[in-house]
Chain length 131, copies 6
């Protein structure tokens, strides 16, 4: 299990990232993910900078972005990520009905993904030209 | 590669499903996925009935549902599903900017999913109680 | 794409494995998988020896073994393996009805696997003691 | 971790599904999976109806069906599903020898699946025509 | 299939990234991966900047880094990535013997990964304290 | 959770494998993985013989082999394997800087693997001929 680096034990480089996370999110402390990732400061900094950019408001709204992050985390079977992004999605407005529909879609996609792969279905001509 | 069962070669049971897909979607023919799945009529019917229920409008709008379906299909590496759901998402309103952001989220989630798994990060207490 | 090593171009070490595959299976030539794996003779030999042992008749009959191999290959999304083990399963007696039921199970398992992971369902006490 | 909805706290809609599961399986209570899935009654009902249909006796016997379900659950890395389907397979007659052979096949398939993917082995002509 | 954006059709923003890739790698043109990713310039830039940082010489030498990249790409089943990183690894010094050993390790790990997951092996106390 | 078979409860066949593992590795006891795998002695023996062959010194040095094993185990999400191979890699000389770089590569590969798959990037002609 990961060694977690707390703020008081962190280098100046790591503290700078923690400070930015706390300020950007308005939270008193960073999640365990960041405390574990601090084992390698360059990866900590790069990952945070990338995540901040990717999850910033854009053509997709913040809730939709969190729903997508959660769905992918379920597909990859990452327990920590499922727990943290379920919480983030709820904080952004995901209610029980939305959560249930997301679960249904992830499960359904898993099923049809395997069926299409099993059957080695040839891609329809009109999908190949679609872009 | 899958044997595709065309309408004119299909049993009455299979035709009934094809007819419902065409009517529900307002399309002249069904996708190759259904023509391949027709190898097993009970699975064809059950899968279509489930998909129709899952993708019906609900607390999540049709575009968000398609974006989720596409994101999961990418995570599972299903080529056919990626092709067909990229097309469906575009048909429901996904523009280039949204597509780019979806790609960024799927990639970012894949990265942090693996990092959290590698580090075996313990779930924060506040996430465990979140429901 | 893999370089395929044909019998006439193979070393004595590789030929010995090809000969054993052909004799064991009663076939005139080995599949492309073995011709590609011959790039590394120790891995070719070890893989063949292991496969021969694992797929030999045992408590599970040969058809059940092939069905399991096919199901796992679908879950892992290996195109080559799906093609070759679908053929092997048919050669061992898998008919269309069995194939359809296998597809249904693989798809259903994919769906409930993701649902159970998403929900982080605690294992029932009686399952924990089951062995 | 999932919130589990017990029978006494469940809506009439959820109770009806629980009742059908208990009657169909002849068990005094449903597994945690169903209690967690009850967070979204339509998904609970649809998943149960599908599972009941897919796992009913057919061209494949109930033990073979459970072995396939278990093998796929291992390939997908679903801890809960592995625990529950290992128990179900044992209940249907899987003995230690069968279990050991199933493990060997799942492991062996994982290995050759990765090797075939790594080598990008072209599908043999005779497999492409096989259906 | 992806739309590929060639240099002459690219925006100034995309050209700047292409120029940096070509200069850093000393190549006359960028790979198709970058031409496809140019559909979303911010993801193109961020991905390239991250990759450049991650693959720069460090505590691990460039060949080891490429071998790791290839091994992970095989595990994830990404055909394009397998093709491109097999080529990159060869360019950095991977010979046939090294390639064969890498294949053997990836296959072996796939096998024992599934076995350990199937058996739900409890982590040895001395591994839990190891960091 | 797995039943662990201790040396004193093991059959002569299992003890012989345990003895070889202990002698080869110079350790007083075998890891839980082997104690769990002993449920099926033929799989125990075959897996150990294969692993011993695959991880023996060759064209790749022992540390590189362990790094590859760890990277693949992360990609497959095997908790036990991540714990045991992180420990093995440290024992073979992986320091914090190397570990951080390995994490960065695994994460980065996961990201670009998904992006290339999502975009269905056609393989560059020069990669197709590369072998």
């Amino acid at each position: 299990m990961a060694r977690l680096i707390e703020y008081e034990d962190a280098s100046a480089e790591v503290r700078a990232v923690y400070d930015d996370i706390k300020a950007s999110r308005g939270v008193p402390d960073v999640n365990n993910f960041w405390k574990a990732l601090a084992v390698h400061p360059p990866t900590l900094r790069r990952t945070w900078e990338s995540l901040k950019q990717v999850m910033a408001p854009g053509a997709l709204d913040p809730l939709t972005k969190e729903l997508l992050y959660l769905a992918v985390s379920i597909a990859h079977g990452c327990e920590y990520c499922i727990a943290s992004h379920t919480a983030s999605a709820r904080a952004r407005g995901m209610n029980e009905e939305m959560y249930g529909e997301l679960l249904a879609i992830v499960g359904m996609a898993a099923e049809t993904n395997r069926l299409a792969t099993a059957l080695q279905v040839p891609v329809d001509a009109r999908f190949r030209d679609d872009h």
